[in-house]
């Protein structure tokens, strides 16, 4: 698991402090469910200055 995702997971667990049994049960419920986010954003990419500069030098408007 990505380090930042794992760190955020640990913070959440430290706040919620579930028992092992409750955690396993909750995660199983979530994994079995069809989960729909009613409005969201796919991850954004970073704007890369070097690529923009190269495009500008190549004549991009």
């Amino acid at each position: 698991m990505d380090k930042s995702i794992a760190e955020n997971r640990d913070v959440a667990l430290s706040i919620l402090n579930p028992s092992e049994r409750d955690l396993e049960h909750g995660l199983a419920l979530h994994a079995d469910a069809t989960v729909v986010e009613t409005y969201g954003f796919a991850p954004r990419g970073s704007v890369e200055p070097m690529k923009l500069q190269a495009a500008a030098e190549a004549g991009a408007g």
Binding site: I5, V36, Y39, A42, P43, V47, E48
Partner: protein
């Protein structure tokens, strides 16, 4: 180029793409109603933004598909992949203001391109309705009612997340199909311009619709510091 890089640049970056999939899998989400539009009605701008996301789901279809029907969401769940259902923000309009049918002609086109939900307004007033930031709180225009009828007819969900309170109430009363406030909060719990009062929430529920609660800290009166 800058916009495309910002929206879907991660497709060209293996590390970002891996992080995206790890985050998606950690969240355990099957489908996201994805913002694939922007704040306005201009067809050209809306098309350009939409194209980024049809491209995205074409490129990573083995991991994230585009959903256009409820069966697609259930199928994605069965197959262990994710899906995006595209929402276009603004209702596309010709903006020539000659006839109502001419103004709403592109609603069906955007349905055919895969859009399944649209905002009536985005915070401010437009030709359809007042947004949530308008102090006049004036509700729907006649063109707004016609737009809702056309969205109902074509199969696009009416979203009042950014609409004003009177606009939201009147939209729920006008819509003959289930409609939504996709990302809002409850005014009874915390006053915020994006919050909906109980009467609006009930009216949306009466359409068999849905109110999605948004956890942006300012919307719910919290700092976000946990």
């Amino acid at each position: 180029m800058r916009e495309e890089m910002g929206l879907i640049g991660f497709l060209d970056n293996a590390e970002d793409r891996q992080y995206f999939m790890e985050a998606w899998n950690a969240a355990g989400v099957t489908c996201v109603f994805q913002n694939a539009g922007e704040e306005g009605q201009a067809v050209k701008r809306l098309l350009r933004r939409l194209a980024n996301f049809t491209h995205l789901t074409d490129v990573i279809a083995d991991e994230i598909r585009r959903a256009v029907h409820p069966d697609d969401i259930e199928g994605a769940k069965r197959d262990g992949v994710g899906c995006l259902c595209l929402t276009g923000n603004g209702v596309p309009m010709n903006e020539t203001w000659i006839t109502v049918p001419d103004e709403l002609d592109f609603v069906r086109t955007f349905f055919q391109l895969g859009i399944r939900m649209m905002h009536l307004t985005y915070n401010r007033r437009n030709m359809l309705a007042d947004g949530c930031a308008e102090s006049a709180n004036a509700g729907l225009s006649d063109l707004g009612r016609a737009a809702i009828a056309e969205m109902n007819r074509t199969g696009i969900i009416v979203d009042v997340a950014h609409a004003g309170r009177q606009s939201s109430l009147e939209a729920a009363q006008a819509s003959e199909k289930p409609m939504v406030a996709s990302h809002t909060v409850c005014q009874a719990l915390h006053e915020h311009m994006r919050a909906k009062p109980d009467g609006v929430i009930r009216a949306i529920a009466d359409t068999d619709g849905l109110v999605g609660i948004c956890c942006i800290p300012a919307f719910i009166g919290c700092s976000g510091d946990i």
